[in-house]
Every structure is written in structure tokens, then in C-alpha cells.
Amino acid sequence: MSDAQTLGTEGGALIIEIRGLGKTYDMGKVQVEALRGVDLEVHENEFIAIMGPSGSGKSTLMNLIGCLDTPTAGTYSLNNQEVSNLDDNELAAVRNSEIGFVFQTFNLLPRATALHNVELPLIYAGVSGRERKKRALRALEVTGLGDRSDHRPNELSGGQRQRVAIARALVNKPAILLADEPTGNLDSKTSREVMELFIELHDKGQTVIVVTHEPAIASYAHRAVHFLDGEIVRDERQTPRRFHAEQVPAE
């Protein structure tokens, strides 16, 4: 990642280039068109909120951006690599090196320590031994959990668990941090802390995409992309809200 000179502008390198992206689910007799010809460009160090009601196609887009799924139409180029026609193993490699997922339900391995959870992407990247541990510890320190590395998820609070998940997402230095309702399971105070962490990461140059249906969460982003019925209905820059004590998002 380069420096944060181009913060919030379109001046950075093109990270995501999506053209006419479509996804149709074949449910036997019924065909469900979840995405209909979506065009989207994301530049380096953008902070984007993808918004829309459930069923609007925002989750489908997230799965496609996250390389968990392949589109049925259109093209998707991630970091100048065309990924819409990769096979499962190639997609796994892209997920490993380019995408950092943060989920609503944290999705940590329950019996593994925070450290081992963060090490997971490095394990599959083939990073071994001390190097792996060092990098995982550093990622935990970035998210403020350096002193909790030997705790298991059930010994951590919700906010701490999400910080472990964010550390895991960051550990392999991904091109994009992809968060799906990252505060959906957190109280308002913890939500704010997590969003502050996102801002902090963004300030350091990280490209962040947050999928959410909460306007309060979306208001942290520099750009909001609104979905409805599988299409983008609005794509606008916005002045990100900076957090103040009295601006705790309503829950």
C-alpha cells in the first residue's frame, strides 16, 4: 500500500474494476437475478460503504468481490488481475493474498487462540514458524490486542473478537479489507470503536469496503454505493462523519 496522500480521492491506483457484472441463481424452474449488470470502480485507499436493504444484491456483490463466488456475466478485475473466470484453487489463492474478510459473526475458530486465528491465512499462504508468529502478533498489536494473543474467543468480549478478526483480515496485507456488517453483533459503543479502527487503518492507506444496512455505519465512509433490486441506484461521495462523543451511532 502506498502512502495516504490520495486519501479519499480517485487519484489512487484502480484496485477493483467491475464491468456489467451479473449473477443469476438457477433455482430449477425459477431464475433469480441477484445482480444485473453492475459497474463499479474502486481506487486504492478508498473507504466505501455498500448499502441497501436485504435482497438488494449487496451480499451477492460482496461474495463476488471477495472471490467466494464467480459471476454469471460481466468482468471483475482485482489489482489488474481478471478474476471472474478463475477456478476454485486460484480463487482461494486470491482470497488468501488480496482479500481480508471481516464478518458480522466474527467467524473465529472457537478452540484456537487469538494468535492461531490470526495465523490462519499465513498457514495457507505457506508462511512458516517464527515469521508467521511474528506477523500475527504484529497484526494483533495493530488492532490493539497484542496482550490477548493467547486468549480463546470465548475469553474475549465481542469487540475484542472482532479485533481478532480484523487482525486476521490484515495479516496478509490484503488489497482490500472487506467487512460484512462488521458491527451487526456489537453494541453502539463497541461499534464505534471498531469503526474508529477502520478509520485508523484507512488513514494508514488501507482500502476498506463495508457492507451495511445501517446509515450510521455507512456515514463513516467517504463514498456510499446504494443498491436496490440488484442494481446500483446511487453512488455518491460524502463527507465522512468523524466520531465525537455525542455522535455515538444510534442502535
Binding site: 493474498s97 475458530l109 495457507y124 486476521r168
Partner: protein
């Protein structure tokens, strides 16, 4: 990245497997029960058979593996054969002298006959002592040696002197509290005939729980006077060198045929058997047991393998979400496959190791309660471990491929 998915699967798989076995101890135990039973029976049966083998080989080749015998009857495999053998002429001391004199390949030839009888000394008596009539050459075959005193002399055998060498059990029962040396020169009674004790045999030990020391060895001539001349004798023959066994057996057979005036077309009316004959027979018998063992073990392993497969399928379902997480952070099909395969193999191996431990414990217990020796057979451990590894792979591959094929989106959503 795909070139090192094996090592990744191995270390992660081992970590997960051990974690999982530890977290579900009872389930893990039930999972590997089939393997435990199979491996325990492999180890137990192999150990017992090897123990018996050692005993039998020792017994059959006690006088040396090159020693063979000439008898009236060989090994009969049917009642008819046995009856036919009984009609043959008995083997006499004259036969023995003829073979001994004419043969060029024979180093020693001992004549023998056994019968059990009561032995008495004063108020003491022992029943069921094996009275062994032997010729002078017997001393050349005796490997255990003398505890006290001496062997009989050629003269004593030729002159049919009433002298006896006693086994340890007989000594202890006839002369309670007496040392072997003190028994020498005393006169014992067998069938009202008095025998001078000239020697005490070294302890022979027991075979299959039967003592081999309840014996009294006497010259063959006096034995025949005691028990009659109608008993067919057994000739024990030692060739000049171990590599002459075949040639010597052929020569002895030819000489016996001449002696019995058999024509070329006549069948032998005697049997020449080497220790190999009995060993072969015994090995056929143990091969049968091994065959049965393989059947039992195969069944236990198939059952054990199916249990492992079922549990692994359950584990895959239980861990659907975990698999989704792993895939989301970049685990490939092969990495997940290896991870679960390694887990199945480790679970299987744990059962194998438990079975080996249990099998040896049982074998050790058996050998401490029976006369069987405890023989540690390294190849049985290797075979058991290899087998359970194969079971782990064969029955683990299907659940592992199910795990590896999971769709990450659906897996992440799985509750």
C-alpha cells in the same frame, strides 16, 4: 502455493486432530474401538504364536536340527494309514546295528524306546515316570548334560547292566531333601528290578507345561527285559555333518529297505522323518491360525473403518462453519482434503497405538500365567501401524473430500 499444501495439511491436520481427540475423549474412544480390537488381536495372536513357535522349534530340534529318526510308523493323516502302519515289522536292535555298520554318512545312531512306569526307593515311589531305554550313543545326542555322576558306559549297555540316570523331578520325589550327588550309588526299583543310580540329568525344563524331568534313562537291553522285546524301537540318527542330512536320510532308507528285503516296487515299511517334517507340519498349522486371524482382523478393521468414516462425516458437518472460515482465508481444496485426511489417519493411528499397548499387555499377562514365553515381534507392530494408517486413508478420504468440496458461502452461513 499448492506445492506445499501437504505439509500445511499435515501440521494443521495434526494440531486439529489432537485438539479434537482431546476435546471429545469418549467419542474418540468409541471411534477407534474397532481399530483397538483389530490391533490388539493382531499383536496378541502373533505374540502367542511366536511364543509357541520358539517352544516348538526348541522342542523339535532339541537334539539338533540335523538329527532324524527311523521308526515303524510315520505321521498318519488318517485312521486307515495308522492301521496300515501297525501291520509293519517292528524295528529291532539288529536293524540298528546293520544300518550303523553299513552306513557311511552316520556319525551317531541311538536306539530308543519309552514307556511309563512306577519308580520306587524305600517307602517313596513315583508313578508315571518315563522310562527311556537308550543305547550308548544316546550320550552323544544329549544336549542338556549331567548334573551329577556320569553317563552309562558302552560296557554297561552291552552287558545289560541295571544302571539308571534320573531326571530332576524323579530325584526330588524319591530322595526328598537329598543333593544329586548324594543320590548316586543308591538302588532304586523299577518293576521289581533294582537299578544303580549312576547319574542325575541336568534339568530339561518343561514343554507346553509338561515337565521333561520326570524321566529315568536306562540301557536299552535292560529296558527290553523290563517291557518286552515286542516294542518297535525308534532310531535317532545324527549325520556326519549338517549338510549331509538329505544324503544320510536317503542312505538310511536304502539300508533299511535292504535289511527288510523290500523289492523295488514295494513301499517303505518304516518311516524316516527329519525335524523338518514336524516343523513343516507345525508351520502349516500356524499358517491356518494366521489365516483365521487375518479374517477376524479384516472384519474388525472394516467395522472400525466404517465407524471412523461415519464419525468423520459427522465431524465435517460439525465443522462446516470452520471449513468455511478456512476457505474464506484462502485454504484450497487440497489443503482442506489433507487436513481431514491427516485427522482421520491420526485418529486411526491412536487406535492402533492403544491396540498395540493393550495387545502386549494381554500377551505379557498370558505369558505370566502360562508356560508360554513372551516374545516381542517387531514386525507385528509395523504391520499393525501400517494397517491402521491404510484404514485411516481409505475411510477418511470420502469425508475429507466432502469437507474439501464445501461451498465457502454456504459453509460460512451454516449454523
Amino acid at each position: 502455493m499448492s506445492n506445499d499444501h501437504r505439509s500445511i495439511g499435515l501440521s494443521e491436520g495434526m494440531r486439529i486432530a489432537i485438539d479434537s481427540i482431546w476435546a471429545n475423549k469418549l467419542r474418540s474412544f468409541l471411534t477407534v474401538l474397532g481399530n483397538i480390537i483389530a490391533v490388539t488381536s493382531i499383536i496378541l495372536v502373533v505374540t502367542i504364536i511366536q511364543g509357541v513357535n520358539a517352544e516348538v522349534t526348541d522342542l523339535l530340534t532339541g537334539e539338533g536340527a540335523d538329527v532324524y529318526s527311523i521308526e515303524r510308523s510315520g505321521i498318519a493323516f488318517s485312521h486307515e494309514e495308522a492301521m496300515a502302519m501297525r501291520g509293519r515289522p517292528r524295528i529291532t536292535r539288529d536293524d540298528a546295528r546293520f544300518v550303523r555298520q553299513e552306513a557311511t554318512t552316520i556319525a551317531a545312531l541311538s536306539v530308543g524306546a519309552d514307556r511309563s512306569a512306577r519308580v520306587e526307593y524305600g517307602v517313596y515311589s513315583v508313578d508315571g515316570v518315563s522310562i527311556e531305554g537308550r543305547s550308548y550313543d544316546w550320550a552323544l545326542f544329549d544336549r542338556t548334560g549331567m548334573r551329577a555322576g556320569r553317563y552309562f558306559s558302552a560296557l554297561e549297555v552291552d552287558r545289560n547292566r541295571a544302571v539308571a540316570m534320573l531326571g530332576r523331578d524323579v530325584l526330588e520325589e524319591l530322595f526328598p531333601g537329598l543333593s544329586p550327588e548324594a543320590a548316586l550309588g543308591r538302588r532304586i526299583r523299577i518293576k521289581n528290578l533294582h537299578f544303580l543310580v549312576i547319574g542325575v540329568l541336568e534339568t530339561r525344563g518343561s514343554a507346553f507345561g509338561f515337565s521333561q524331568d520326570e524321566v529315568a534313562v536306562v540301557p536299552i537291553g535292560i529296558w527290553q527285559r523290563l517291557f518286552g522285546y515286542r516294542t518297535s524301537l525308534q532310531l535317532r540318527v545324527k549325520p556326519r555333518s549338517p549338510d549331509m542330512v538329505e544324503a544320510s536320510m536317503d542312505e538310511a532308507r536304502t539300508l533299511m529297505r535292504i535289511r527288510h528285503r523290500l523289492r523295488p516296487r514295494d513301499e517303505d515299511d518304516f518311516a524316516v522323518t527329519g525335524s523338518d517334517t514336524f516343523l513343516d507340519l507345525y508351520h502349516q498349522f500356524t499358517a491356518g491360525i494366521y489365516g483365521a486371524l487375518i479374517g477376524i482382523v479384516a472384519m474388525a478393521l472394516v467395522v472400525g473403518g466404517i465407524v471412523i468414516m461415519n464419525i468423520m462425516l459427522m465431524v465435517v458437518t460439525e465443522r462446516t462453519r470452520e471449513i468455511g472460515i478456512r476457505k474464506a482465508v484462502g485454504a484450497t481444496y487440497q489443503q482442506i482434503l489433507w487436513q481431514f485426511l491427516v485427522e482421520a489417519v491420526i485418529v486411526s493411528l491412536v487406535g492402533g497405538v492403544a491396540g498395540i499397548t493393550l495387545g502386549y499387555a494381554a500377551a505379557a499377562a498370558i505369558s505370566s500365567f502360562t508356560p508360554l514365553p513372551f516374545v516381542l515381534v517387531p514386525w507385528s507392530v509395523a504391520a499393525a501401524l501400517a494397517t491402521v494408517m491404510v484404514v485411516g486413508v481409505v475411510f477418511g478420504i470420502y469425508p475429507a473430500s466432502r469437507a474439501a468440496m464445501l461451498d465457502p458461502i454456504a459453509a460460512l452461513r451454516y449454523e
